[in-house]
């Protein structure tokens, strides 16, 4: 089965939806998604943005699209993360792309609900306003096939103390799955929250997840957004996250790729008003034939904004890492401060890393820097530790762990940090 068979499936779904067409705004959005996907299609490695990550191999005509009725919630999947977030965590389960909650709930000034066809809330205005349907094949695909949108709307000046955990999982016990979770976060002015999004698969069949998360951070709001891909199952992940950050607001993204055969994350952050800031942290720890590709864009569209990005990856065996980090500084974005660094540690001769920083600076009064390194463990340091009685494997694990932990230390939430540290330590076989 091939990409063309897959595209054909999407087309027939689109025709089905066309006959069922309504004047509803949500249905119109999905039709828009279908037509954009028809035009953009699944990108091949000839496409610059998909050069190192061949997505054509994971989309085929056998994927079952839009089956939302499986709904045996995996008992363990994501539960560990939920537990780490403490007793007062608010959990939203998104199963095969649909929120497992019918009612619209309001918790401590936060609206939590599923935005579907027929809905008429004000949040419709934000939908697809940041993740542009016509620009990105997987935003188009998600828009075309997604079931509904999970909305997390923080009202003005609400400081949510309770973390929110969005657990996206697929149950592939009976068939393969293409699932398209969609999340919209609106943080009104002066609000703050921590949202943790994690992705999981259970079941024997293949799953492909094409999630889209849109985040609107309004003036003076502070949003911490953690994304964890730790898929020990059959899941493959092609995700897209976009955020706009307004005056004096902060968006902090923390991405951890700790397991998964195939992970691609696109992250686009636009600083649209003066004194907005962005933090982008990323950590990947891979082995076997795992792959993680992080494409990030920080777009400085206003003066006096600041962004700081740190991505680190550890690659063992035949695993592959890709980092592409773009920074744009628009002509009027004077006094921009933009810093980026990406570091890869290769633990095996067969592991590979492709890193590409890309800075496009059109303003003259800016402070920007970037640095990308790919290296191996310092043999001199390994010997130094051996000479103190630490065996070679333990010495390497200790140094590798320290390398990755530098990023994890920047993640929010004590419980979450220690869980991630424990995961990384286990994967690296560090005795602690």
């Amino acid at each position: 089965m091939s990409v063309s068979a897959f595209t054909e499936r999407i087309r027939s779904l689109a025709q089905h939806h066309d006959t069922a067409a309504s004047e509803d705004a949500y249905a119109a959005l999905r039709r828009h998604g279908f037509s954009a996907f028809e035009r953009l299609s699944i990108p091949t490695p000839r496409h610059e943005e998909w050069k190192y990550t061949n997505v054509t191999s994971i989309f085929d005509g056998t994927l079952v699209i839009g089956a939302t009725d499986a709904a045996q919630r995996p008992a363990t999947s994501g539960a560990e993360i939920t537990r780490a977030l403490g007793a007062d965590v608010i959990v939203l389960h998104v199963q095969n792309g649909r929120l497992q909650q019918d009612e619209h709930s309001v918790i401590e000034g936060v609206d939590l609900y599923d935005l579907r066809a027929g809905a008429t809330t004000d949040d419709l205005q934000f939908l697809a306003s940041i993740a542009k349907v016509d620009d990105h094949p997987f935003v188009a695909l998600n828009t075309a096939v997604h079931d509904s949108t999970v909305v997390i709307h923080l009202h003005r000046n609400v400081h949510l103390e309770r973390p929110i955990h969005v657990v996206c999982s697929a149950d592939t016990t009976t068939s393969t799955q293409l699932h398209a979770p969609r999340v919209l976060v609106v943080a009104e002015s002066g609000s703050s929250a921590l949202i943790v999004e994690s992705h999981h698969t259970v079941g024997e069949h293949a799953a492909v997840c094409v999630p889209v998360t849109e985040v609107v951070v309004q003036a003076g709001a502070h949003l911490q957004h953690v994304k964890i891909v730790a898929d020990e199952g059959q899941g493959k992940h092609v995700g897209y996250t976009a955020a706009t950050v307004a005056r004096d607001a902060t968006y902090a993204s923390h991405v951890a790729c700790l397991a998964g055969a195939f992970t691609r994350n696109d992250l686009v952050v636009q600083l649209i008003e003066p004194s907005a800031s962005a933090i982008l942290n990323g950590v990947s720890v891979l082995h076997g034939s795992e792959m993680a590709d992080n494409h990030t864009v920080v777009d400085h569209r206003a003066p006096h904004c600041r962004s700081e990005e740190l991505y680190k990856g550890v690659y063992d065996d035949r695993s592959v890492g890709v980092f592409n980090g773009k920074i744009f500084v628009q002509p009027h974005a004077q006094k921009t401060e933009a810093y980026q660094s990406s570091h890869a540690l290769l633990l095996s001769d067969r592991a590979r890393m492709n890193a590409k920083p890309q800075l496009e600076i059109w303003a003259d009064d800016v402070k920007c820097s970037h640095g990308a390194t790919t290296g191996q463990l310092n043999e001199e340091a390994v010997f130094y530790m051996q000479a103190r009685g630490i065996d070679r494997a333990a010495a390497k694990a200790l140094m590798t762990y320290a390398f990755a932990a530098e990023v994890v230390e920047r993640f929010p939430h004590e419980g979450l940090r220690s869980l991630l540290e424990q995961h990384i330590a286990q994967k690296l076989e560090v005795s602690r």
Binding site: N378, A387, D391, R392, A394
Partner: protein
């Protein structure tokens, strides 16, 4: 009495170049041996071969450590058996705190000897006590190992580690280099505090200065991969006065 260390006719090379050309050296319990010699004579090579650095190939000779074949052991086992090398250039290890590093090292040694790991409180108290020997601030424990330490701080840290691991044979490779006179005295005091009738030391130095503080029982002069002179502590003073050229001339005549 069994010697701590017995080196017999040791030859070692790196990348096909022979650096050590037949070293003989025996250290009895309680003895401090100084190894002196001009730059490039092979002092660090000898230390590296004893510590087990893989780049070097031993082509001939034997090294017996407490009755065991040292050359047969991995570097970590040598350390666990009581050999300690204070590095000429201590390595910076980002992200690994001095405390964590020492915990791994001490507990690896304890496990090797069938002992259980030390309790955290016990361990912390021990670290603080031993740091005081070299007048190191406990704040260093939380810093990444050697990262951003000054030259003197790195050398003191080496002697602190030695105090934690209580080796039976310590090899100090130019521990005096880069130290001002105050730091030199602190480091030397730290070393002297660890002299016992049961352990031995090899003090490698280019200058006689250190030996005013750490007074050796035996002084060897290493030149061109061989020990060309052995004497008492006065030999160091003679070298200070006359320089190494005197030895070089005499040795080439002999050779």
């Amino acid at each position: 009495m069994t010697p701590i260390l017995e080196i017999t006719n040791l030859h070692a090379s790196i990348d096909g170049t022979e650096i050590l050309k037949g070293i003989n050296l025996t250290i009895q319990p309680g003895e401090v041996h100084a190894v002196m010699g001009p730059n490039g004579s092979g002092k660090s090579t000898l230390a590296s071969v004893l510590a087990g650095r893989e780049e070097y190939t031993v082509t001939e000779g034997t090294v017996v450590f407490h009755g065991h074949d040292l050359l047969d052991m991995s570097p970590e086992d040598r350390a666990r058996e009581g050999l300690f090398l204070a590095f000429q250039y201590p390595v910076e290890i980002p992200g690994v705190s001095t405390a964590n590093f020492l915990k791994s090292a001490v507990n690896a040694q304890r496990a090797h000897r069938g002992l259980s790991p030390l309790e955290p409180a016990e361990f912390l108290a021990l670290m603080k006590e031993r740091m005081a020997l070299v007048e190191m601030n406990p704040a260093f424990l939380q810093r990444s190992l050697n990262e951003g330490f000054s030259g003197g701080e790195k050398k003191r840290n080496e002697i602190f580690q030695m105090a934690m691991l209580e080796p039976t044979l310590a090899i100090l490779d130019e521990t005096d280099s880069g130290l001002d006179i105050d730091a030199l005295r602190i480091v030397a005091n730290g070393v002297n505090a660890q002299r016992t009738p049961h352990n031995g030391m090899i003090v490698i130095t280019h200058y006689q200065r250190l030996l005013n503080y750490i007074v050796p029982d035996v002084v060897h002069v290493l030149w061109n991969g061989r020990i060309v002179r052995t004497g008492g502590k006065d030999l160091a003073l003679t070298l200070e006065e006359r320089g190494y050229d005197w030895i070089k001339t005499e040795s080439s005549v002999e050779a």
